[in-house]
Every structure is written in C-alpha cells, then in structure tokens.
C-alpha cells in the first residue's frame, strides 16, 4: 500500500508540474460553462427540471471528453518511462508491476475526478442559480459523477495497455487517438448504420443491445440516460436505453475498469526493460 502511494505521489507531482492538472480542470470547467449557457433556453417545453437537462447534456459531453482526457493522461505512462530510461531502475525496486500501474492509476484518476467534479460543479451551480427546483436533479448528477470516474478508469487502463504495447510515446499517442476514434465515434456510427440497414430485424433486437453494453462509453450513456428522467432531452441511443435493464449497463461500467487494468498489467509484464 505504501509503495502504491509512493508511486501515486510521484505521479501526481509530475502531472502537476506538467500542467496536466490545470489543463484537465480548465477543459472540463470550460465545456461545462459553455453547455450551461447553451442549454438555458429549451427547458420549459420538456417538463424536466433544469439540472436534469444539464445532466443529459453533460452525459453527451462526458462520453467524448472523459475517454479523451483519460487516454491523453495515460498513453505516456510506460512508454515514457521506457524512453527516458527510468524503467529498469524502477523495476529493480521491491515493487511489483501491478503496484506500479495501480499507483499511477490512483494519481491519474484523482486528477480526472477533480476535473470532473469542478466541471459538473460549475454546471450544477449555474442550473440551480436559474431554477430553484433544479435540486431535484442532484441524484442524477451524483450518478453521472461517479460513473464518469469509472469511465475514466476504464480508458486510463486502456491507455496503460496501449503504452506498454507500443513502448514508444509517439506510437502510443497515435494508437491512443486511433482507439478513441474507433471506440467512441466510429463504433456508434457503425451500429447506427447496421440498425438502419437491418430495419428492425434480428440485429436490432438481439445483437444491438449487447453491442451497446460491450462498449464502455455506450454503457455509460445508457446507464445515465436510462436512470435520468430527461431521456427525452437526449437523442440517439435514447430508444435503446429503455429496452436494456439498468443493472446490465451498470454491470458493464463497473466491470470494464477491472478488465482494462488487467489487460494493462498483462501488457506491462511483457515489457523487457
């Protein structure tokens, strides 16, 4: 435990010096402000409180932004150590490779959680300031917050696995962006195309729900939209959100962080310093 904390302490210090903490917090804060400003007009017609509407918009934002931030923070974790030549010395210390990764995860996840808390905090203050009834949306904001942290953990794990696999920071950066594009953007487009082509056939009823659950970002979106009262405010997977039980999407977002961290540990074990 002390060893994990030692790694986490060093890693957060480095992130602070590299301005990663300020960049992440500023990014989330800025997007939350823009969303609150843009989302202030259409509430009346929806019959939902203002905060629930904000949560729906924040969900759509987080699906893109959190995996991106997580990958950007983590792609250098192992490849960077290899390139700087700091890895061999670290691995002669009495600390296991899993402990090294968990230590880094603690630091990176703390930074991500701070950024998410600041961003969502700004958005909710803005919503409550305009509409006293918005406090009714606080439970869904809380749900969005912790599920965002889990989504971040999943993609930080992916970033570590990519970092160990690529062994060079430039290669790891390319792979990380490529992975983000495929998992977050192209995956949904592909599913959409398949659903349209299938027009209500077996794919739409039998495969599509599981394809959504298999992608941690889609599972995150499903979970937050299904649990929120403001599903009507969000487009896209809203229809699917009603057919998939909440426990399934919840299981997906809880299991994925463990899976990706496990993959990262396996990939890291294969690195010879």
């Amino acid at each position: 435990m002390n060893r994990i904390l030692a790694i986490a302490g060093t890693e957060s210090r480095i992130a602070l010096r590299n301005r990663w903490v300020s960049i992440a917090v500023a990014m989330m804060g800025l997007f939350a402000l823009v969303l609150s400003a843009a989302g202030s007009s259409p509430t009346g017609a929806l019959g939902a409180d203002r905060l629930s509407v904000t949560v729906a918009s924040l969900t759509s934002l987080s699906v893109y932004l959190i995996p991106l931030m997580a990958l950007l923070m983590s792609f250098d974790a192992i490849a960077g150590e290899v390139e700087r030549g700091t890895l061999p010395l670290l691995l002669t210390y009495p600390v296991s490779r899993a402990e090294v990764l968990i230590g880094k995860l603690v630091a990176h996840l703390a930074i991500l959680s701070l950024a998410v808390a600041v961003g969502f905090g700004i958005a909710s203050i803005a919503a409550i300031a305009q509409d006293r009834g918005a406090v009714a949306g606080l439970p869904s904001l809380w749900r969005l917050l912790w599920s965002s942290v889990l989504l971040g953990a999943t993609f930080i794990g992916v970033g570590y696995a990519i970092s160990a696999f690529a062994r060079r920071p430039s290669g790891a950066a390319g792979l990380a962006i490529g992975f983000w594009l495929v998992a977050i953007v192209l995956y949904d487009l592909g599913l959409l195309a398949a659903v349209v082509a299938d027009s209500g056939g077996t794919f739409t009823t039998n495969v599509f729900p599981y394809a959504l659950l298999a992608n941690p970002a889609d599972a995150f979106r499903l979970f937050n939209l299904a649990a929120s009262q403001a599903t009507a405010a969000a487009a896209g997977v809203a229809g699917a959100a009603n057919t998939i039980p909440v426990w399934q999407s919840l299981a997906s977002i809880i299991l994925w962080p463990a899976v990706t961290l496990g993959l990262a540990v396996l990939a890291f074990r294969r690195v010879t310093p």
């Binding site: 030692a6 480095i14 700087r84 700091t86 002669t92």
Partner: protein, 298 residues
Amino acid sequence: MTLTLKLSRLTKTYQGVQALSDVTLSVAAGERVALLGHNGAGKSTMMKIILGLIPHDSGEVVVTGAAPGSAVARQNVAYLPENVAFHPALTGVEQIASYLRLRGEDPSKAASLLDRVGLHAAGRRRIGTYSKGMRQRVGLAQALIGQPKLLVLDEPTSGLDPVSRRDFYALLDGLAAEGASILLSSHALTEVEARTDRILILSKGRMVAQGTLGDLRRDAALPVVLQVIPRKDAEAEVAAALPGATPEGAALVLPCAQDDKLAALARIVALGDRVADLEVLPPSLEDIYSHFSHRDGQ
C-alpha cells in the same frame, strides 16, 4: 565466508548472438569486484540478469540466497544503471524521497542522502537542470538507500570529475567495510586498480581473466621494456652488446621476459660508463587489459 552473489555456467543468447557464455563467478560479503570489458562484452547484460530484469538461458544465478528479481533479492540489491535517468520535472529531494518510500524507509532521509553524495545545494532544484555528473550522484544516492547487501553499479564513475571519483570510491570503501558486496563495471583498468579486491575481464561474453591486479600481471607475463641510453660516442658498442634491442631516438629499447629481467640488467650494468641512463618500464595496466580482452579472438 558468505556469498552474496553466485553465478555458475551462466549463458545468455541475444538474437542469435552469444551475449554471455559459461560465466562462473562468486562474490563474498564485503568484497569489491570490478567487471571490465569493451562495449558489448556482456557487462550490462550480466548485470541485468543478476537484477532479474532479463531472463537467462541456462546456468544458475543466486542473489543473496534467492532467485534474481525475487522479492528477497530486490529488497537486498541496489542498482545504478549506466547513464542513469530520472523524470526531469522532479527535484532531487523528491526523487530520492520517492525511492525511500518504495523501499519502506523514512522519506525525510532524502536530504541527508544527497548530502552524502555531495549534492546538498541542488536538492531542491529540478533534475532537468542537473549536469550529467549531478544526475550520476542522484543515482548513487538512491543506491545507498536501506543498507543493500549487494550494489550493482554500471559504469558508476562516468561523468564524474577526478575529485568526485575519489570521493565515490571512498564511499564504496565505507560500504564494503560494513559488509556490502560491490560489483561495478568500468572501461578503464587504471581507474579500478587500487580500489577493488578483484578484477574480472569479460570479452565477447566470456570471462577471460579473474584475480587481483598482481594475479593478472603475472598471468599475462607481458615483457618488461628496458630503455637504455648509451653515452654519445659508445652507441655502436652498446648496440652490439645488446642483441634484440631496437633504436628509438637516442635510446635503445630492449623488451625482455619477466624471468630474464635480472640477467639483462646484469649485461647492461657490465657495460659500465658506456651507458648514460637506464629506465625499466613494467607493462602498463592498459597493456595487461588489452592482452586479456584480445586473447579470446585468437
């Protein structure tokens, strides 16, 4: 005598190249051993195997009674890599404090460790601003953490000036006196000469010599060179009396085997005042080193 490190018939092949073949070695507690060899002779490979960073093909490696890279071995072994590197954004104190925590030691000892290697003033500056010699000292400071039983130091004095080198070896003497075994690598025999108990020479992955400097000198049996300067008018006469000598400037150079040294000197002395001066040049340390590190290729 307790052995800190034991290698027997260690063999390692790297992408079809024999990096180490049949290396046998043991290091006792408190012993200082120097590992010499050209670039690519297998020094770093051998060290990485001892540290458990890379696997070996065959042979046996026992580090402080345990397998290399096991928890026990890592607890007992300190390492200073060649061209040691640290994250440039951390300060010296922060980096050492982090390593102290990893070894379960009190992180507040960081400043005093940096004092011990002569880095007191720069400890609060970022490592990115350090010179190579200063980084090397940070590397040395981390190797001193927690009374290691075995220190594996890969070219520890590269980047250090002569005064710092002397301080560094004084530090090693202290550690060895407390019972730590030291295995260090170097390019230069001149440097490790008086500072180590035993010298090992690796060439193309084979151990070609091992022993004290005296042992190596005797085994190499390189010729002594006698440099005779004849009196101005007696050059031809002296040259005639010393067959085998070649003129080199004003002097005559006569190589002779260790065992013939006294006989040759007697002949020169017999020439009386026809000899103006005489120098006896023993084989240099570099000669001995090249003798062993080239022999393998023959």
